[in-house]
């Protein structure tokens, strides 16, 4: 048997240990304790399930932290990945040389459901019992030796937060050997056992799964086959065929026979496993000191939940927490963002001083430095958001947030877990989209992803601010109301679109909400920092490259082919400048830039689309701003700065505000009236002007189909909403 070969071979230079366990089982804490600070975070190929790998301290072993799952039945992407790693059937991931299975000792029965499935795979396995402190606090003890003897694998008690038992665990992992030869306990109903035996024959002869017990493979295959109805057709069938290899008549006959003999075999298997677990744990856990567990005083989690999920207190605390989250993302990041902008200006000025004016200087300053700036400007916000999300996650509050919000979210067909991603999208859709990974159901997750960019992100804020300032002048109440209106409009649009998607394209069976409410715990600072850093870093490397590239492309489009003759441009600029601003050299330079943009590819495109955007009340200059915004919205402000010949501009620039407000059509009427201002902002609320978001969606969904759909529906929505605003406004003479 191939497993014997693996075991009998000389020990490989590097042990590869996969860590499996339930969500909230303390798996990550154990992983962190075993690895120290060194780890690599990446994604599994094709999906964005986080792949966390580290080196075990004091041993030649690589640790692979699998996503937290409840079962090997592989219904969610996380489960599919974990299962495929454990059966050695994932690209670039050879069969692990050993498995560490984490079991929350305070929740033994349900944790053992997955753990026994993992043990049965037959790989060299160590079991760690975490949360032993909580077990002791309940006045109970666990007989690890007895459990170990019954399971046939070493069982090590640990307390991840204090490091207790970690040394023993490391030792057990370093010396883990093959499991005993007793095989899998025959716990299933006879007809199912028979089918497993038959199917096991098939997998025994299939060399692709060497090292995993054929009976375990057979059980997994039968469960998958009988759960999904006809899983041989369509993409699911193709994936199944790729994973399990070709099926033959005999194997299919086995599953058909089982389906006839035992209706709902997977359910019978689950029941049989829980009965087996009851036998396994009998006598392993001491009875509670106080006798009846119900008589015990409510624990801390219970007392906290009486407030945090209280009918009145719950929503109040929740609103406060969300407000705090929102506020920290907005204002907490501000000084850092200012510093980044300052640094960017400084570097650009240094380059400008060192290099002669021309294409190279412009490429470096307006292309590359602006590109890098566009990436790192979001970094502080993303770090803060990820840090706060890690706190909510690690304390256990995230699950309560979903619990509280599920009712509201279900009104539009979404899931309680969709709330945090949507809220995060107020800061930036990218972390919001990344935060949808906790949503199990594919349709719910896709819906959340598709509508997340409708929540007004922080990149829209500068656009709103400059436009509002330009058209509403000095009426602070009105200005605030309009700004609030834009945020509200985005939110309502997102919820409406979610409702529509869930009733059309992504309509599916009744949505479900089955979620564990883990006990509250105090998060570990080191763990929080680690999670924040690795997730934020992956934003820099993954989205960053696309944003950077897009900035270079936009730069090239706005720089080339250059004005027909530079001299003519400058002289014409001088002529105009004389009329505008007493011929200051700065103004001349700005006008030359404006002239260059006008004759660039981007300027040509702007004029090309003018007939299309004219019904919206926009001229070609705003068109250029719209086009350049498709790389990233905040580019609008700086492009407007160039288009309206102000030079360097940000949203607080009084001159740009003035220029925007006084720009006219050839017939002398104003371009940016309050009406077009509103129309312009409505366009920005709805349009998907963010290459990075599209790049992230592509990565998250594994296909260009969804980003294409997102871009399409949002652009159409933006155009027609903006058109409606302008045309209806004109009808009611609101144009002035």
């Amino acid at each position: 048997m191939s497993r014997a070969l693996v075991v009998g071979a000389a020990p490989p230079a590097l042990m590869r240990i996969a860590i499996a366990g339930n969500p909230n089982s303390g798996k990550t804490t154990v992983f962190n304790a075993l690895t120290g600070l060194r780890m690599k975070v990446a994604n599994y190929p094709g999906v964005t399930v986080e792949r966390r790998e580290g080196r075990m301290r004091g041993a030649d072993a690589a640790l692979l932290d699998l996503p937290g799952i409840y079962s090997l039945s592989a219904r969610s992407p996380d489960e599919v990945i974990a299962r495929d790693v454990l059966i050695g059937h994932l690209e670039d991931s050879p069969l692990p040389s050993a498995v560490l299975v984490i079991v929350d000792a305070s929740n033994l029965e349900r944790n053992l459901f997955l753990a026994t499935q993992v043990v049965e795979l037959g790989l060299p396995t160590v079991m760690a019992l975490t949360m032993m402190d909580r077990v002791r606090a309940r006045g109970r003890t666990i007989d690890c030796a007895l459990l170990s003897a019954r399971l046939g694998v070493p069982v090590v008690p640990v307390v991840g937060t204090t490091g207790e038992g970690i040394a023993a665990l490391r030792d057990a992992l370093a010396h883990v050997g093959p499991q005993g030869s007793r095989g899998i306990e025959r716990m299933m109903p006879p007809s199912l056992e028979e089918a497993i035996d038959e199917a096991a024959e098939h997998f025994r002869s299939n060399g692709a799964f060497g090292g995993v017990r054929p009976r375990a493979l057979a059980a997994l295959w039968l469960a998958e086959r009988l759960s999904d109805g006809d899983s041989t057709k369509g993409p699911a069938g193709q994936r199944a065929a790729a994973r399990w290899g070709p099926t033959n008549e005999k194997l299919l006959a086995t599953s058909a026979r089982l389906a006839g003999a035992l209706p709902d075999a997977p359910a019978a298997a689950i029941e049989a496993r829980y009965r087996y677990i009851a036998r396994l744990t009998e006598g392993v856990i001491s009875p509670p000191a106080s006798g009846d567990p119900a008589a015990a005083p409510p624990d801390l989690t219970d007392r906290i939940d009486r407030v945090l999920t209280h009918r009145v207190g719950g929503p109040v605390v929740f609103a406060a927490v969300m407000f705090g989250l929102f506020l920290s993302i907005f204002s907490g990041a501000e000084p850092l963002m200012d510093a980044i902008e300052g640094g960017q200006r400084f570097v650009a000025a240094t380059v400008a001083a060192a290099l002669p004016e021309g294409a190279l200087q412009s490429l470096i300053n307006d292309g590359m430095i602006a590109g890098v700036g566009a990436v790192i400007i979001f970094f502080p916000q993303i770090c803060i958001l990820f840090f706060l999300l890690a706190i909510l996650e690690d304390t256990g509050y995230m699950a309560r947030a979903a619990f509280i919000m599920d009712r509201l979210m279900s009104r539009v067909g979404l899931h309680g877990k969709s709330f945090i991603p949507l809220l995060s999208s107020y800061a930036c859709a990218i972390p919001g989209i990344l935060a949808t990974r906790t949503i199990e159901d594919r349709r719910d997750r896709l819906t959340t992803i598709l509508v997340a960019p409708l929540m007004s992100c922080s990149a829209r804020l500068p656009v709103y601010l400059i436009v509002i300032a330009a058209v509403f002048g000095d009426r602070p109440m009105l200005k605030s109301a309009v700004l609030f209106g834009m945020y509200a409009f985005g939110t309502v649009s997102a919820l409406t679109m979610a409702y529509l998607f869930k009733r059309s394209l992504l309509a599916g069976p009744r949505p479900t909400f089955i979620m564990e409410l883990p006990p509250y715990r105090v998060p570990r600072v080191a763990g929080l920092i680690r999670a924040t850093w690795h997730r934020s870093k992956s934003f820099l490397t993954e989205a960053g490259t696309v944003i950077f590239a897009a900035c270079i492309v936009i730069w090239a489009l706005s720089y080339f082919p250059g004005p027909p003759a530079m001299a003519a441009a400058v002289s014409s600029a001088r002529g105009e400048a004389a009329g505008v601003d007493a011929g200051q050299p700065l103004a001349v330079e700005a006008l030359a830039g404006s002239e260059r943009l006008r004759s660039s590819f981007l300027g040509k495109l702007g004029r090309l689309i003018e007939p299309v955007i004219e019904p919206l009340g926009f001229d070609w200059r705003i068109g250029v701003g719209l086009l350049s915004s498709f790389a990233a919205r905040e580019v609008f402000v700086s492009t407007m700065g160039i288009t309206f010949a102000v030079g360097e501009a940000d949203e607080t620039s009084p001159e740009l505000r003035h220029r925007l407000a006084s720009a006219t059509w050839p017939d002398g009427s104003r371009v940016l009236t309050p009406l077009t201002g509103i129309g312009l902002m409505v366009f920005y609320v709805l349009a998907c002007q963010c290459v990075s978001t599209l790049a992230v969606v592509r990565k998250e969904t594994g296909s260009w189909k969804w980003p294409a759909l997102m871009f399409g529906y949002m652009t159409v929505l933006a155009y027609f909403a903006s058109l409606a605003v302008h045309q209806i406004g004109l009808r009611f003479h609101l144009g002035a």
Binding site: Y70, S71, S73, R75, S106, N107, L108, E109, R110, F113, S227, G229, D264, P266, A267, I270, E271, Y274, P293, A294, T301, D305, T309, H310, R311, V312, G314, P315, A399, F403, I404, D406, R407, L408, S410, G416, P509, R510, T512, F513, I514, M515, E516, L517, P518, P519
Partner: protein, 85 residues
């Protein structure tokens, strides 16, 4: 709906339990994948459950089983038949 069924068939459902009430699961129904997921989470026939509370807006609910807390919507809980514990 759960109440109507209860009157009609004498069955009780998890969805109609009141906070603090105990019961034992007798049958898990519903769409295949949901049923299997609920069972994997430990809601198998014979399991003791206790209703803890409902969310502030009345749905979902929180229950205790096998020494942990699980939340699920009333629509799912309406597919879980229980008997007095």
């Amino acid at each position: 709906m759960a109440e109507t069924l209860q009157i009609a068939f004498g069955a009780r459902f998890l969805a109609s339990m009141v906070p603090g009430e105990r019961g034992r699961v007798t049958l898990v129904r519903g769409p295949t994948s949901v049923r299997h997921r609920l069972m994997e989470m430990g809601l198998t026939p014979g399991t003791d459950v206790r209703m803890i509370r409902a969310a502030p807006l009345g749905d979902p609910i929180e229950i205790q089983l096998r020494s942990y807390r699980l939340s699920l919507r009333r629509s799912e809980a309406a597919d879980i038949e229980i008997e007095a514990g």
